[in-house]
């Protein structure tokens, strides 16, 4: 027979366990929403203050498995008055979505230029999760976002190309191709985002050159243009698997 005290102790321990679990899930929810708020804040900073982007791409002998590409971004700014308009939390997936917005009169951007924003409302969405297994779609979306930034910079600022090419009977055969991008970008707006049927993410961005010209108070060549790009990001890394298999062979 189990003594009464031990029985009480077991019942108390079970109760505490159940209550503690409820407490954890609450904490997880708050942490996920907080993380999504930070993501949305970063997006706002990237959109208004701007970001510095460095990207390289390299391919040898036109073999996709030799492809090496990297994109890095940096930004740091203090922005006051960000408000969170829409907070959604999916308990089943542990994913939070936060829409942040801000309206500023003026701001000094990443290049040190004063921009007259005239209290225009800028909105950006941030996603986050506390469960690593659920991070796939969010990571894919972020990589699509970075791809879109890179494409915008390529369109506006351009890029450098370094190559070594073999010519055989006047036929070009690429041997080594490298591209580099290093620039700052601001006032990029996200027009659409989502995931396709294959779970790959896409982010559509646009940049109104005329608006930038007005905000900066400078005349920009091709001022009437609206530059639109679509970035892509994958959830699944099937490329590394192919690369490894080829190395083994």
């Amino acid at each position: 027979m189990i003594p009464k005290i031990i029985k009480y102790f077991i019942v108390a321990a079970v109760c505490m366990g159940v209550m503690a679990h409820a407490g954890w899930s609450g904490n997880k929810r708050i942490m996920t929403i907080r993380a999504a708020k930070v993501m949305a804040e970063r997006a706002i900073v990237e959109s208004i203050y701007g970001l510095k982007l460095k990207a390289t791409e390299e391919v040898k002998d036109m073999i996709p498995t030799s492809f090496e590409g990297s994109t890095e971004t940096k930004t740091m700014a203090k922005i006051k008055g960000i408000s969170y308009d829409d907070i959604v939390y999916d308990q089943e997936k542990d994913i939070a979505k936060v829409t942040a917005s801000v309206a500023l009169d003026t701001i000094t951007n990443i290049d040190g230029k004063v921009m007259n924003l005239k209290n225009k409302v800028y909105k950006r969405v941030g996603f986050a999760t506390s469960t690593p297994e659920m991070a796939g779609p969010i990571k894919a979306l972020r990589s699509a976002e970075l791809d879109a930034y890179k494409q915008l910079i390529k369109q506006i600022v351009g890029f450098t190309l370094e190559s070594q090419t073999k010519v055989e009977n006047y036929m070009l055969k690429s041997d080594l191709v490298k591209t580099k991008v290093l620039a700052t970008l601001y006032l990029a707006e996200v027009t659409d985002y989502g995931w396709d049927k294959q779970n790959d993410a896409f982010v559509k961005m646009s940049l109104k050159v005329s608006e930038i010209s007005e905000i900066l108070g400078e005349t920009i060549v091709d001022g009437g243009k609206v530059i639109e790009v679509e970035g892509q990001g994958a959830q699944e890394d099937d490329f590394s698997a192919v690369k490894k298999a080829e190395k083994k062979q």
Binding site: E57, V59, M62, I63, P64, F67, G69, K154, Q155, V157, G158, F159, T160, L161, E162, S163, Q164, T165, K166, V167, E168, N169, Y170, L172, S174, D175, V177, T179, Q198, N199, D200, Q232, A234, Q235, E236, D237, D238, F239, V242
Partner: protein
């Protein structure tokens, strides 16, 4: 197995094979994106190199260029280029052979060949010190 069953099995195998072949192109992941990127890089490079006026029939071309989009078309500003022609090297070798017959120094002629520099060749060929 009756004849109709055999035909059915053959059809199923055929359909499955077709599905496997076509499904690979719509698989998710970054492989397809990398392949697309590789193609784009190749096209960009061919476009940049193709604009050079002094392309050799056979050889190697090294370039460094700034690329900018203008009305959807990439414009290249090539700020560094090195063109090494294979045929030029062969021609120089023949010259070297004739020089060797005339008793010129072997090492010097090899250097001329590596540099591929016309002015150097002319200078060395007409150098009064050699005579």
């Amino acid at each position: 197995m009756c004849a109709s069953m055999k035909i059915t099995v053959q059809w199923i195998i055929f359909v499955v094979l077709i599905c496997i072949c076509f499904a690979s192109s719509i698989w998710a992941g970054n492989k397809a994106m990398v392949e697309q990127n590789t193609k784009e890089l190749d096209e960009i490079n061919k476009q940049a190199v193709g604009q050079l006026s002094d392309l050799p029939k056979n050889g190697t071309v090294k370039i460094k260029a700034n690329a900018k989009y203008k009305e959807g078309v990439i414009q290249f500003d090539v700020y560094d280029k090195k063109i090494v022609s294979d045929t030029e090297e062969k021609e120089i070798k023949l010259e070297n052979n004739s020089d060797l017959n005339a008793g010129s120094v072997k090492e010097e002629t090899v250097n001329i060949n590596n540099s591929n520099d016309k002015t150097n060749r002319e200078k060395q060929g007409n150098d009064p010190k050699d005579n």
